[in-house]
Symmetry: D3
Subunit: 264 residues, 6 copies
């Protein structure tokens, strides 16, 4: 299926594409340890692949930019090989990208993100760029919207990093990321400070990944499969595709300035 | 009940208190429109009051710092009176506070936050300060942990700003914030772009509050009451108090550096 | 008496007030040690109270914003409890406030400051914001203009921090700040480096407060009284009120661009 | 041939590799127009491929990090699709990468750069990081050292962007970057301001690429070939490999601090 | 008379001088309009000359660095030729200078400043560098301490810029700065906003120089003379010299850390 | 010969000059060790002198601004007396200067630079300011264009700092910089890491000057002479003068925006 991938286009091709393109998808990943059974580029590759698939579904309304292949990963820095950007740096990269895109006439951008540690920065980015650059920016976790498939196929109570979900997504989208012969469960550190800071607890905060897991994984990667990956990815693509189409049709109605009599 | 409130202490009193204090609570609020029936200082006042109550429960282990009385509120700027800090500014304020606290020997800090728009910045703050300043920082939404009381007493599907929850909290904690004679429901703009970006949707992003509500409120403030406020606040204080105590006892065990043989 | 206090208003009330308001008063304080007989919030509280009084005199031409309740206090950091912002941080907070105010149509701002350590930053703020934001910013030390009352009532040669002047102001404006039973004179360190850097000397510079005073006070707080406070505060309010009125009437005459033939 | 590519490794593999690795190669590219006959990812891909080849020659002394796949390209921004980072942003990305690498014990870094517009920033990066981070940083233009092959095979007087050299390198390293059916010569704008600013002129400065070439190319891409690419790339790899080996052997002799008697 | 001027020394000479030097004098000036009768480099030149004279008196305890020959002059920017640095820029320059000096073993620095518009920034610089760089920084207005000579010889009520004082200083220190044939009085704009903001008024703020004077001067330059300049400069040098000597002798007693029992 | 030197002009004179001036020359130097036989201000003085001479040739089309008398010299910091600015600081100074110049109507600027360590920063400055400030900025190494004179008169293979070239330039332009009685050859450290990073090598990077030369010189200063200096300087002035004239005449033809059909 066809799609607009900026990395694989010449400028005259981009010029032609810009006649229909209304939104740019920026894949945002990370470079960080993924336990003994996944490559450290996992998040960058999965974000790229998801963006390509989503772009096919939304062709010719969107184009995909180069991937932001490193992200905010300080919690993984004590595992060898992790490269982490500070949030300020990621913001600067995204700002420059959005400024460049706007120069080409694109004022809607979706940051398609595969790494939880980037979410806070992406939220700030969207708010800041709306103020500073007069653009509409959105962000989405790549497969977070596949709620039914997750419910059906994921049984670990603690999952989300190099687990059955992520391994399954990789089997479906980029199998070279997985070392099938090394798949192991997360080697969880029980009783740690991290347990009080997981989502849903009264208090959040920063902890290092080795406080939670000795091998850098959580969940049970041995339960991953191509089929689960397909279910998750396709449901997420359905959801994301519909959401982007809704946004693009909405935006044909320009937002009126707040009416002065609004509380009359 | 007794508590350590930095704003009401002299330096010899602080010096004495530091013998038992292990954590500082920084109330973080906002200055932003709260519809026609609440003062714009609502979030700053509620964060302050929650911090005072929490400090009483945790006395003499904690002290309360001055309140950060403005926050990240760009989505409210089109309503008269809102003052918004950029995320970078809020980060700078919090960093300086943490640096000052560390100088006094305090290396654990809880940002007790009443305003949703601050959460992303607080998450980044905790991660950054752990790297830069060798402190443990945490953050909590003031009453988000009162899940049972919320479930029992809040019936609006869309709530969270100048709604029955917030008005109830104010009736209990700071009734001068409420104008009982002006209470109205949120005047919601149906069919807007914002509906696709509420929590739980595939895509998040920035929208202005007037895109969602003509009068600046959501939910149904007319349903608020002192009793509901009491139920929410007290449950949240129970949860927060227990969570802080758990953190403080945990931390008596120093976190070992990641062991080199961890994947052996 | 009536006044516009942003913290106690709803947005429709602010919208109505903006029809007459020409200038915003930003109270700027500090959170720092004030010896054994005053609360550390002293400067933040006094700035707030002075702003309220000044707003009453200038009603309905001015409104009061939330207070900047921490300031630039590095010289006090070795006394327990002091929280200090870097000058860059204070500038960022003020800039964001002025940007927000300008969005609401206010392009004149008075920083009403109670803390000497903020003065340098406020001077830079006024110059920078005039360039960057096209606003007119002013700053004033809360009671510095009460020259006659000072002359009449203050006998200490070295005064200005938790002294008879400040205690008197607090007795009049916010008596809960004072611990009457603990009032002491400043315990001055004679012969120190600081003596060569007091105002009026050939050389200025930075010194820490403990170089000058062992108990964090200077002057003689035991000489303070409600009556002195009243004399100082009321004279200062007279002076400030007249000065603001003069500025506001001046500014009805727009400043012409420099005429090209000016030196002809 | 074997090599250490961080993107294709797990953390235990990185941990093992770090026993021999002495230097990290950071591929630095760009995303910018390359005329009608090359993909916009050209520089990012070529830098990556060169890094892989160099790592094979230097195995097991080096590892390759993720690629910096966007660079400083403001001069190309008027051609559709170009994404440009500000120099400050590129510096921030590189600094964060070096900080992360140093945490893993690597204190020598080579920025292997394929894009002329990045050279100035890389020079500053090396100088700054040496001061700030106590690391030794180096940078190299990917094939600039292939002087003999260039002399033998390149006849255009003006070349260096989407020309016979770059097309040849791509034929050899990543042929999918080239559109053989669209190859054209640079459509040069004669008599422009740019002519006075080419290397070797008395004055340098910034000009936009469209001032120099109407189609975004210079040189004569139609003269490119796999053989020329092979000659250039292999000579450059020989030169780079020898240079890195020399650096690594040098550095076994620690640099003594400047001797005090040096001018005796 | 001998002195250490860094601009006129070789590195072996500096190395030798550092055996006795305890403090660096940094001349800080400005480049800004000085009316029709003085060169725009006036402040830079006068600061340099004052530093040279002061260094002679304090030889061999001090050395003079290169001059900061531009300053913070936004209020003069509407007069042709003025070059103004932002306060942040001046701070950055001074910080880099102090860092360099500290590397050479000098940890006491006096900013000798001839331009009023720099004073606020210099105050912040001293406070910030003390925190960040563990140095003692001081600042002085070049001739402000010549109180008796000023009182005896200056009769204008409004003076301080290209007036009889400054012209006199130039006659004595650098007569080429003055155009004797063009000397004029300040052409003051009476009734302006600036009158309410002069020193001693209740309110300070930023105003542009052309609001106050049509020809860029204040005071009465025609009253200036070599003799007045000599009186002012020599008195100031006496005062500054004594003050620096006092600081340097003080500092032989290291400042003790605040004693814990200070309020006992 | 006449020229416009901003440091020696009054504002009415600048106003008059601006009627013909089209470009500002900013002399950019450094303050750094120049071995035992040249003053540390060498680069600042030579840049200033070159600018004056060039301005005479181009009168009345150009004016000369104050000199940037410190530069980016981290590689010299281990020699006593060197003062180094960070690249960010130099950029900030240049930006403020360009902003000020633009305010006076000058939108073309030439940074005339005598110090190699500044070149990278000047390249970034020109690119950044073109984007941010809508100005045309250029930079030139003061005498780099004197290729024939260099070829005829310089025999050292390694030269460029306090060598026969620089000493000769000083003999011609500012002989007080030289100590004829102390002239020595560079005391080169053979076999060092620096040899692999000199221009023309495959790899560049940062090294400290003492790694290369024990006395801070390279080349053979004893071979310098007034005549060589004259030959170099005059050839360079010829080249620079012609290049600036070409730029100024070019720019009378405004650059058209890129034509949309450019690749048709």
């Amino acid at each position: 299926m066809e799609s607009y991938l900026l990395t694989e286009m010449t400028w005259p091709e981009v010029e032609a594409a810009l006649k229909t393109v209304k939104l740019a998808i920026v894949p945002v990943g990370a470079h960080e340890q993924h336990g003994p059974h996944m490559n450290e580029s996992c998040d960058a590759v999965l974000a790229t692949e998801m963006a390509k698939h989503l772009a096919q579904r939304l062709h010719p309304l969107v184009l995909v930019t180069p991937t932001v292949n490193m992200g905010v990963s300080p919690h993984h820095l004590n595992f060898p090989g992790t490269i982490s950007l500070r949030p300020e740096t990621l913001l600067a990269v995204l700002r420059d990208m959005v400024v460049s895109l706007k120069r080409h006439g694109i004022d809607k951008v979706l940051f398609l993100n595969s790494h939880g540690g980037n979410q806070g920065t992406l939220g700030l980015a969207c708010a800041s760029f709306a103020q500073e650059l007069e653009v509409d920016c959105y962000y989405a976790k790549t497969t977070a919207s596949a709620k039914q498939a997750m419910k059906a196929h994921i049984s670990s109570t603690l999952f989300g990093h190099s687990c059955e979900r992520e391994v399954s997504e990789a089997y479906y989208l980029a199998p070279h990321l997985v070392r099938p012969e090394r798949l192991v469960k997360g080697d969880i550190v029980h009783g740690g400070r991290w347990e009080g800071m997981r989502p849903g607890n009264p208090i959040q905060g920063f902890y290092r990944y080795e406080e939670m897991t000795r091998n850098g994984c959580i969940g049970d990667a041995t339960q991953g499969s191509y089929e689960i990956g397909k279910a998750i990815v396709e449901e997420a693509l359905d959801e994301l595709g519909a959401a982007v189409r809704a946004l693009l049709s909405d935006s044909t109605d320009p937002q009126p300035a707040r009416e002065r009599e609004l509380a009359g």
